[in-house]
Each structure stands twice: as C-alpha cells, then as structure tokens.
C-alpha cells in the first residue's frame, strides 16, 4: 500500500461518511488509480457543471432574506462563517471551504443562445469567426493528442437551439470537438443508463472487427501515397482516435458498473449524479476537461420557480457535494478545478406565473468556483439589497475565463490561428483575472 492510500483510508473515510456518503468497509475503488493522484507531473483538469437555462442566484448563493425579491427559501450556515446558502443545498454547504462563490457576475446577454456563447467562449457570436468553446481551448492546452480518451468530454450536453454555437470547437477544428456522452436529444432528465457514448461499440464480433480494420488500413495505405493534405490528415486522425476509443481499453472509463453501489447512490441515481461520477472517473484517467450538463428542463424557471429550484437542488446537492468529496478522497481535488455556472442568473423580480417565476437576468448573478487553483471559503463581490445590480467587484465573462485559465496554469493571452487567419487569444487580453479567488 502506498503512503497515499494509507492516508486516505481512515481519516478520509470518516470525513466522507460524515458528509453523508456511507458505504461498506470494502473499498475496491481505491486501488490502482489512487496512486495516479500522487504523480507530481500530473496534469490539471477541469470539471464544468453546466446549469443550462440559468439558475436563480437569489435562490441559491446570494440570499436576500426579508426582501421582496428574496423568495420563500430559508438560508443555512455553511461550514465557512458568514457564507449562507439555500436550505436545499445542505451537502454543498458543507463543502464551502473548497468553494468560492462569485456574486458579482455581470454580463450583457439575456438570450439563452447569445448568453451561452458569451460565457462559454468569452466572445459574442459573430457571423464569420467561429469561437471555440472553453472546453476546446483548455483541452488543446492541457490535453495529450495521443491519449486514449478524448481530451474534452461533454456528458449530457445537448445541442439545441439555445446552445447553438456555444459547444463547438470552432476554428480549432474537429480534433478539439467534445465527445458527447448521453446525447439523447430528449428533453426529459434521463436515467443513468442514458449515459453511453453513442456508437462506441462495434456491431459485429471482434474477430470480424479486426479483419475489417486490417482491410481498411491496407486500402488506406495504398491510397495515401502521394496524396498529402489537410483533408486526408484529418480523416486519419479522426479514425485513429475513434479506433482507440472503440477497440481500446479506454472505454472502460465510461462503465459505471465498476463503481460501488453505495457511492453511486450517494451521487444520486439520475443522469446528472451519475454524470458527475463519470466525470471523476474521466479526470482520474487524465481527461483535462469534462463538462457535466444538468440536463432535463434545466433552470429556465419562468414560472413555478420555487418548486422548480427545490427539485433541481435535490439532484444538484448530492451530486456536486459527493463529487467534491470523492475528488478530495482520491487526492484529485488539488489538481481539479470544479466550477458551477449557467449562462445568466434570474430576475430579482418575481412574476405571477404559477406561484411565481423568475426571468432571464444577466445584469447580476452568481457562480461558484472550487477545487484546484481556487482559494475556497469565500464569497467574492456583492450585489445590492435586492440582488439586481452588482455593487462591488464586477466580473465579466472574459474575466471569469481568464481566472479559470490562471487556476489551471493556462496562459490565457496565448493565441490560436482562427478560421479568418487572424490570431485570436484564448481570452481577450483586456480580461482581468480575479486574483482574490485564486489559490
């Protein structure tokens, strides 16, 4: 047993149990991989918990008790004095030492698509320049092009009208496109069995797969000579990566059956919970950027806001808290930045629809950063009494992305060549990283 494993077992087990995760004394999931975390050269990773639709900041992390905008929820103490969070996020409240709440996000876009493009690329949609999504940019910097697993994996992310243009590799090209896991295209929140990689398994028995690939390779070798060029190189690379995934051992990363039942329960038996568990398995295997999308109807609570948020929190709370704890137990939290965000917040004003709804609100909203590179245990920035305007330390979309780059050691002014042959920096050079939330 390595020292690390020795350290983990007792003390961490107690902590994780205290945090609401309970399982038997047998922990087969500690083996082999736990040592990976000890590698000092270990790359950093990022997990984005994407709250599509836009979650209400006032009902989650920026309470306005007693105000007419405050809503009916109670707020509870977190483990960090002075930071209170929604009563429906009790497990997350216990993770606050790892988390930094940014309460002063302020952006310009109130339409789902434009706002998603802005927060996920740092740029407004343009006609001709196709800006890469943040996951593509990060995976290009941190990923190993030869790795068995793709460097950018998006779990439960759906390509809809509302997200169009926000989850594309843009001018970086298809090598940096996310592998979509569980892209069912359905609006309902799926079960965990939906979390499969489409078309990863060959449809004929394995001996025939070997023959087929052999014949394909022979045909390609014949064709390749004298035909250099971008199109052929791209086909070659795409097939090589697809074959690594569908015939290699890497696909085991997606198999959640190997996880203990109790841990699976702790994450929550739903697509988001199991998606968070899968994210941990992927990060453990060195995937630099994983997105877990909340899925279902998201957070777009124009009506019936309060029951809606409460129901969502019941899914979010165990999944997110268990993820933080699970990463910590495995020594992965120091190298994994976890962040929680949507495309905007929701209006302080409560409309009269079905017991009260909240509208899109980009002017002032919250998001939460945590884990590696982040100085947890703090709330940064401040909104006014009603939660409608940022009073202190405003943070823009580029500021946020620059901060995240700093957290994982990516030089955000580094330039890539765009599809219009103009060098474009990862994040605008004018962005101001929020150094106060960086560890």
């Amino acid at each position: 047993m390595t020292p690390r494993q020795d350290r983990i077992t007792r003390r961490r087990m107690m902590q994780i149990a205290a945090a609401g995760v309970t399982f038997g004394s047998q922990c087969p999931w500690f083996d082999a991989l736990a040592t990976a975390a000890d590698d000092p050269k270990r790359k950093r990773s990022m997990i984005m918990l994407w709250m599509g639709g836009g979650a209400s900041h006032i009902d989650t992390f920026d309470p306005k008790p007693g105000e007419k905008t405050g809503g009916p929820f109670k707020f509870i103490n977190s483990t960090v004095p002075g930071i209170r969070v929604c009563e429906h996020l009790p497990q997350v409240a216990r993770q606050m030492k790892h988390l930094a709440v940014v309460r002063s996000m302020t952006t310009t876009e109130g339409d789902h698509r434009r706002a998603s493009v802005l927060i996920r690329t740092g740029r407004l949609p343009e006609e001709l320049v196709q800006y890469p999504t943040f996951g593509s940019l990060v995976s290009k910097e941190l990923g190993d092009p030869k790795s068995e697993l793709p460097n950018f994996i998006s779990i439960g992310g759906r390509n809809t009208e509302d997200s169009r243009g926000s989850n594309i590799p843009g001018f970086l090209g298809p090598d940096y496109a996310p592998l979509l896991v569980g892209d069912g295209g359905s609006k309902r929140r799926g079960g965990s069995k939906d979390l499969t990689v489409p078309d990863i398994k060959p449809q004929v028995e394995s001996e025939r797969v070997v023959d087929r690939i052999q014949m394909m390779d022979d045909l390609n070798a014949e064709f390749a000579a004298g035909r250099e060029g971008e199109a052929r190189a791209s086909a070659e690379s795409a097939y090589a990566r697809a074959l690594r995934l569908s015939t290699g051992s890497a696909s085991a990363a997606f198999n959640l059956d190997r996880e203990p039942e109790k841990l699976r329960d702790a994450y929550g038996r739903n697509a988001f919970g199991q998606g968070c568990l899968m994210a941990r398995r992927l990060v453990e295997r060195g995937v630099p950027f994983v997105e877990v999308s909340f899925g279902g109807q998201g957070w777009d609570s124009h009506f019936r806001n309060f029951p809606w948020v409460q129901e969502n929190c019941a899914v979010l709370d165990p999944a997110w808290a268990t993820l933080m704890e699970d990463l910590a137990v495995r020594g992965l939290l120091e190298t994994t930045t976890v962040f929680w965000m949507g495309e905007f917040g929701r209006s302080p004003f409560i409309n009269g629809l079905q017991g009260g709804g909240r509208e899109h609100y980009p002017n002032a909203w919250s998001l939460v950063l945590g884990g590696g590179g982040i100085k947890g245990g703090q709330a940064y920035g401040k909104t006014d009494r009603l939660g409608g305007t940022v009073e202190d330390k405003p943070v823009s979309a580029p500021d946020l992305l620059a901060t995240l780059c700093k957290a994982i050691g990516v030089d955000y002014v580094k330039e890539n060549i765009s599809n219009v042959n103009r060098p474009i920096s990862i994040v605008e050079k004018t962005a101001k990283p929020v150094t106060e939330v960086l560890a």
């Binding site: 949609p125 006609e127 298809p174 990689v197 489409p198 014949m215 064709f223 035909r227 060029g229 199109a231």
Partner: protein, 526 residues
Amino acid sequence: MIRFLFTLVAASVALFSANAAPPDPTILAAKIDARIDEQLKANGVKPAAPASDAEFHRRAAIDILGRIPTVAEARAFLDDQSPGKHAKLIDRLIASPAAINHAATLWRYALVPQAQRVQFIDVTLEAWLRAELRAGRTADRLMYNLLTAPLDYNNREPDGKLRPAPGVSPVSFYQANDLKPEAVASSATRVLLGIKIECAQCHNHPFDKWTKQQFWETAAFFAPVPPQLPDEKIRPIAELSLRKTVSMPVKDKETEVTPKFMSGNVPDWKGVTDTRSLFAAWATAKTNPYFARTTANRIWAQFFGIGIVDPVDDFNTANVPSHPELLDELAEALVASDFDTNILVKAIGRTAAYQRASKGTEKAQNDPRLFARMSVKGLSPEQLFDSLAQATGYREPIPAAARAAFGVNPDTPRGAYLAKFAGGAQRADAQTSMLQALTLMNGAWMSRETSPETGETLIAVANAPFLDDAAKIETLFLAAYARKPTTGEREKFLSYLLREGDAGRKAQLADIFWSLLNSQEFLLNH
C-alpha cells in the same frame, strides 16, 4: 484600397460591358490551362499525370451532383470508348436535376455560414434557392432577388420561437442576420463582393480603407429590413420599403446615416420603390468587377478545393490571388455569359488541371495554389451522406420535395446525420471528426446498410445468381469507388471471401464493403 478598387472599376467598364458572345467552354478551358501552366513552368513544377477515368468520374459527380456515381453510371463511363467522353460527362452532369439541388446547397453554405446555422434556415433558404435555380436564375438575378425579397409575414409563434416562413421564401437569410440592416449589409457585401466590411461597423477597417461611415452608408440600403415588433411580428415591408436611414452609433449617441455606394457614388432614387434594390442592382451589375470575380472564384474553389483568392470571402489588398489574370478571365467569361455559372463549370471540367490525378509524383506538387495535382477534398456532411446512400442503395423514406417544405426530419437517417454533423467551422466542415468516424464505423444506420440481411446493395450483390465471386467484389468496388479493383485487390479480397467456404461468404462480403466505405478513398473527394 477604395481608390484602387474603383480605378479598377473604371478600367474594367469597357472590358466588361463589351457585348461579347458567350464564351466557348473548350476555348476557355485552354486559356485556363495556359495560365496554370505558366506558373507551373515559372516554379519548375511538373504536373501530375491525368486522373484515371474512374477518379475523374467520381470527382466530377461529387463536385457537380453532390454524390458519387451509381454502379451503372460508373460501368457505362468506364466502357465508353468515344472521344470527348470527359466533356460529355460534365455537360450531362450539369443538366441533371441533382446538379441544381447541389448548387442550392452550395449557395446556402455561402450565404449562411456555419456558426449561425439552424435547421429551418438551411431548409427554407435552400428550398427557395432551389426553386430560383430551377426557374433558370443566373447568379446576378438570384442575388438580386434575394436582396429584394418581400419579407412581410409573422415569423414567430406565440412562444417566441422562430418558425419557418410559410411557402418558399429566402426570409430566413434575413433572420440569420437578426433582421438587422447592418448584419444583412455585411453578409451581402461578403457574399456578393467578397469584401468583409463587418469590422468597419465599429471602427475603420484595419487592413483596407473601408471607413465606419461607409459601412453604415451601405447598411442604410437595408433600412427597409423590417425590425421585429414587440408582438414578435415582422412589420409588412410595404410600409418600410423606402426607408433610408439607419442610426450609426458614435460614442454615446447615434447619428443618422443615409445610403451611399462604396464607390462614393450617390444613388439616384428616381422610380425606386425599394431602397434595397439600388444596392442589389449596383452590386450585381456587369460593371461591378467584384461580383463577377467573387462568383467565379467561388466556383473555382468548389472544383479545386481552394480559391484563386482564398479564403474566398476575403478579397483585400493583403490577400493576393494566386493567378490574377486567370481570375480576370473567368470573371470576364462569366459576364459575357450573363452570369451563367454553368459556362465556368463546363470550362473547368474540360481543363487538364481539373482532370489531373490527385496522386502526386513529386513534393513540389503539394502546393495547392499551383494546381499541379488535384487536391484531396473532404466531403460536406450532405455529400458524405448522399454518397453513402448511393453506395449502399439506401433510399430516404421521405421524398426530397417534402423535406424541402417543412424541414429536415431528424427522425430519418439523413436528417439525423445532418443534424449531428452539420456544424462547426466552414473549412473544418470538410474535415472528419472522431464522432463522425464512430458513426460511420459503428452507427446503427451504417450497420444496417452494411449488413447482408438489410443493406440494399449487399442483398442484391450477395444474392445475384449471375455474379461470380470476382464479379461481386467488382460490383462493391464500383459502388464505393466508381472503379474496378486492381488485380492485387481482386486476389486479396477473393481469398478473404473464400476463407471460410460458403458459410461465411455473406458476412465476409459485408466486411469487405464496410472496409471500402470506411476507407479514405471513399470518404474523400480526390
């Protein structure tokens, strides 16, 4: 740049307005080859050998029809011993209805770049383009009609979601530009003139001499583009068609700007009933050197994979054409044919440059701007799916006409494929992604089409009593590659086919077909 550009206009007036007879494609082809050869010679590069008949056939079918040839077409072309069969093939392909569908797809790609694409925009715009092309519109009329199209209808449902226009209308082009005069103007100048002025929207152009003032003066021609009303309706354009002012933001305030041509000329409003029509007429005039050049250049890129000016949408002083005289000659031919782009297709199809092999014999041929060998192009998602369907014998259950009216149905294999892969960057479009590779190797539809029980081509080939094993393999090669197998390939695949005797033969035939369809020779246009 402006001054340079419009001296150019003045100089070309005589050249372009001369009432020349439509050019002869064979003569034009010789001119093209002379220009290409000039540069090859200057660079000391020897061109590649001519393509085989099969390679040429497959390439021309993909470039003109958007799909590979059928087995019967492939066989017929290989067997044809008549002189001039290459030229005859090009002319036959152009006359096919599929050529119009493919041309409509290409125009749509140019008009609505990827990042903005939504299914219904693609579909309704493409349906309109198709109808116009079927009605025989030449490039100038097509663009004129686009820029002056009526726009009066309600485009939103009560839930606020965009809906396609009733009937066939190009209004989705305007919707893709957020119904904003300035966005429509930048799209129009980019597509028609190959000039990107959108960055002059906020400040003067960094490379060229376009000013912010000029940008907004151009945008003012599109002042009639109806804004969204608060009730989510588009106001009937009749009320707005003569509107002539847009507001240019200047620091904290806004200034009213009225239309003026980029050439500096002041428009003459006599008899004009739609402000947009003056820009449309000016941009598509034979005397406007940019429209003919941009259109000719785009056609060239369709066939060679790279423009004479490249990127094709970016004509500027720093972006030098590889063959400037050639571009002028192509533009001139286009003007002389009253913007009938088929003249260029016929000529290009007849050139030695287009008929060259994609396989190079020396490194120097790899420079794509020399056209020493045919460049290997990726297939667009549409080309790839339609070619797979052709090879496997698959027929979409819903006829193309129904598809055109109400959108791609994501429940059909074609709709699902396009919904999944029609995204990303424009040039990267033709690149292969890992997801695409997974879908082609393991996807349900492909598995169905490469199964001897369900794949139409495979069923036919496996069960044909008149085909022996060698003929079966040959048919699969013709279906996928439009060529017959080489002797080596024939022997190798025959021995694979016979490896397990009769029992495994069908499965092995399927394995062979699968490897053909997943190979680069199939996936690429070469």
